[in-house]
């Protein structure tokens, strides 16, 4: 029972973080067709920016400022980089962002070093919120939950209740039509790209101290973000949300399961001492996203909620 409740809570938090990280990419990918390889790099930038800003001022200023800075970097990348590659097609764009990911990785290593930085949970939130089954539950996780839900609500409000949001929604499903309606498409692209990166940056700010802030965090998260977007489906934030939750819960639960293949398939004669039998479900957890990715692309190429095929 304890494990289930804790896994559930942690899974939801991980899922929310994943969604915050992926929602920007879903917007970018659906509207512009750019599968941004560097998206997780912006997540990393968010964490590092927050670390530096928090070092000079405090966490709360970093919480506001870091995502804004990341968003500006993103907008600049779109304006002076991506836009000129656009004419050469989606593969060229994909390659551009692929190179950009390399670049950001290296720059981060030069500025902040190769090892993890000591980016800490703010003292104000560094206390156990409540006790559950005799174990303490940190307040910061609850804070992550609140920020994520707040972001979710804000995103929903912007997309459904503002003019800009309606244009974006139209562009999600019919990217070509928006230009015909007389909107400044390059500017919309730049803003969406910037906003998407800012969301990834925000995920970095609140996720960086919850997980680890090191130069490998982009490489670790990058492919998983793709999985969320692809599994969720093109043009669907709801799909991305479901996929992120599903992934978050599945991975967290899998980590909590100690059973090995031998325990499960023992009745088939699989011995616990054999190599295959010794593999535990927990050790398979990192593979789950990629299994999902391959299966979804083969079985249901439009993803869970997508309105068109990739």
């Amino acid at each position: 029972m304890e494990t289930i409740v804790f896994s559930l809570l942690n899974g939801v938090i991980y899922g929310l973080l994943l969604f915050m990280l992926s929602s920007g990419l879903t917007l970018i990918f659906s509207m512009m067709g750019v599968l941004n390889f560097a998206h997780a790099s912006f997540y990393m930038l968010g964490a590092y920016f927050a670390y530096s800003i928090a070092g000079v001022t405090n966490f709360w200023i970093a919480l506001i400022l870091a995502p804004v800075l990341v968003g500006l970097v993103g907008a600049a990348v779109e304006k002076w980089g991506l836009r000129s590659v656009h004419a050469n097609g989606h593969v060229a764009e994909l390659l551009f962002t692929f190179g950009l990911a390399y670049l950001i990785d290296e720059v981060v290593k030069i500025i902040w070093g190769r090892n993890a930085v000591d980016y800490r949970v703010p003292e104000l939130l560094d206390f156990p919120m409540f006790e559950l089954f005799g174990a303490q539950y940190p307040a910061y996780r609850v804070f992550i939950l609140l920020v994520s839900v707040g972001m979710l609500a804000a995103l929903w409000f912007i997309l459904n209740r503002t003019r800009a949001g309606l244009i974006i929604q139209a562009a999600l499903t019919h990217p070509h039509m928006v230009g015909h309606l007389g909107h400044n498409v390059p500017r919309i692209f730049m803003s969406v790209f910037g906003a998407g990166c800012a969301l990834a940056g925000l995920a970095g700010v609140i996720g960086g101290n919850y997980l680890v802030t090191d130069p490998a965090m982009a490489v670790q998260m990058g492919p998983i973000v793709f999985v969320v977007v692809v599994v969720g489906g093109l043009g669907s934030l709801t799909g991305a949300f479901l996929a992120a939750m599903l992934l978050g819960l599945m991975q967290t639960f899998a980590v909590g399961i100690d059973a090995s293949f031998a325990d499960i398939f023992g009745w088939l004669g699989l011995s616990a001492t054999s190599e295959l039998g010794g593999i535990t479900i927990a050790s398979l957890a990192p593979m789950i996203p990629f299994l999902m990715l391959v299966l979804i692309l083969m079985v249901r190429p439009r993803g869970l909620m997508g309105d068109r095929e990739l």
Partner: protein
């Protein structure tokens, strides 16, 4: 219209002279270069560098069968390189063990054949689901498969040797061509032979009906269906061959390094081979060769000299994607074209102007990066080119950086204005 029924259309094919110049001479040159290298008495370092280049040339060419010739962007090509390499290493150990008549009579020299076969097999198995899709979905599937295979690599220690990998000894079994495979010179002949065979094989593939239809499928998959071809089938077969030649390169690597680790299956080498092919130029057959030589050189030389070599690599890649999609080969052939067509003096001047501008700005960038890297290390080390002392707090550093940037920018502007003036 005429109705002379037995007319010959031989003249439509390229003339003998053209064929010899374009198809025969380059391979003769390659063979001669490969044969001559040992006569310059290279150092051990040079030998190991050429070996790495040879392996990467075949690997990058095999990758380009997918990206350049087939229009398939893969993020997991190292899977086939790695599986081929592992197979070759296990075969090497089987030769060593000498338990079976087949393996104890198998020369190490021929191990790339094992890599080729296993690469093809892996391509056939993994390609079956992957090649049902093309474009971005294909790229994503290749990424997922690469992650899965790499994860499996760490999981099954008996096959992949865990973190430590699998090692072997190449000086076992019967000798072929009197090569003991011990000294670097022997290994050189092995690498040279298979580099040549791999390159020739991949080139020959481009000349076959399947190779031609692969290009047609890349350009227009819809039309291909209406001349009787199934585009997925074409892609699948090309994928198998690309896997096979990657496995061949893996086999070369297995003999050269005598070790393979699960790392070799991962996204990192897959990304590197993508960079090699693209920087070299995916539209040209020779592009990946140039890219492989350049990147291998950078990797071994620059990584000794500067820790930031990956940063330079990223910059180079982005610059190519943005400004020269033809890659290095595109630039080389573009220049040759200018020289060939006389009266292009202005064009040439503009190119030189651009090159100078890029060089100036790049110098500024190099100073910035080198100064920053040393500052970042925090060992108190300082960048000292040509006896200058460039620290992070020396004004001279920043004057030079801004100066070079400014000069480069102005030169590029001038070149562009000239271009617009002429256009």
């Amino acid at each position: 219209m005429q109705s002379n029924s037995v007319q010959s259309y031989e003249h439509l094919a390229p003339s003998r002279a053209v064929k010899i110049r374009q198809r025969f001479v380059p391979f003769v040159v390659m063979a001669v270069v490969l044969l001559l290298i040992p006569f310059f008495d290279p150092s051990r370092t040079m030998y190991s560098l050429t070996a790495a280049m040879g392996i990467n040339i075949v690997f990058a060419l095999s990758y380009n069968m997918l990206l350049g010739r087939g229009g398939l962007l893969s993020f997991g090509h190292a899977v086939y390189f790695g599986l081929g390499g592992y197979a070759a290493l296990h075969a090497m150990n089987a030769i060593d063990a000498g338990n079976s008549a087949f393996w104890s009579n198998y020369p190490v020299f021929m191990l790339p054949v094992v890599g080729f076969a296993i690469g093809a097999l892996a391509g056939a198995v993994i390609g079956w689901p992957s090649c049902k899709r093309s474009g971005v979905p294909f790229a994503m599937i290749s990424l997922g498969v690469a992650e899965l295979v790499a994860a499996a690599g760490y999981m099954f220690g008996s096959i992949f040797g865990g973190e430590m990998g699998v090692t072997g000894d190449r000086m076992v079994g019967p000798q072929a061509f009197g090569l003991s495979m011990g000294p670097v010179e022997d290994v050189y002949w092995f690498i040279a032979f298979w580099t040549f065979v791999g390159t020739l094989g991949i080139y020959a593939f481009t000349r076959t009906p399947l190779g031609k239809m692969s290009e047609a499928t890349r350009d227009n998959p819809e039309r291909v269906q209406f001349v009787g071809y199934d585009p997925n089938r074409v892609r699948y077969l090309v994928f198998i061959f690309a896997g096979a030649f990657a496995g061949l390169a893996g086999g070369m690597s297995a003999v050269n390094y005598e070790i393979f680790t699960p790392e070799s299956l991962s996204l990192v080498p897959s990304g590197l081979v993508l960079l090699m092919a693209y920087i070299g130029g995916i539209r040209y057959f020779t592009g990946p060769i140039m890219g492989a030589i350049l990147l291998t050189y950078m990797q071994s030389m620059l990584s000794d000299y500067s820790e930031a070599w990956l940063l330079y690599l990223g910059l180079l890649f982005i610059a190519i994607v943005m400004y020269a999609p033809g890659g290095v080969a595109g630039m080389v052939f573009g220049l040759l074209e200018i020289f060939r067509h006389g009266g292009a003096r202005e064009m040439l001047i503009r190119r030189v102007q651009q090159a100078v501008g890029v060089a100036l700005a790049f110098t500024g960038l190099v100073i910035l990066i080198e100064v920053a890297v040393r500052w970042s290390n925090g060992y108190g080390e300082v960048f000292e080119p040509f006896g200058l002392h460039l620290g992070i707090d020396t004004p001279l550093s920043w004057i030079l950086i801004l100066g070079f940037f400014g000069a480069g920018f102005v030169t590029l502007r001038l070149a562009r204005n000239n271009e617009e003036g002429h256009a």
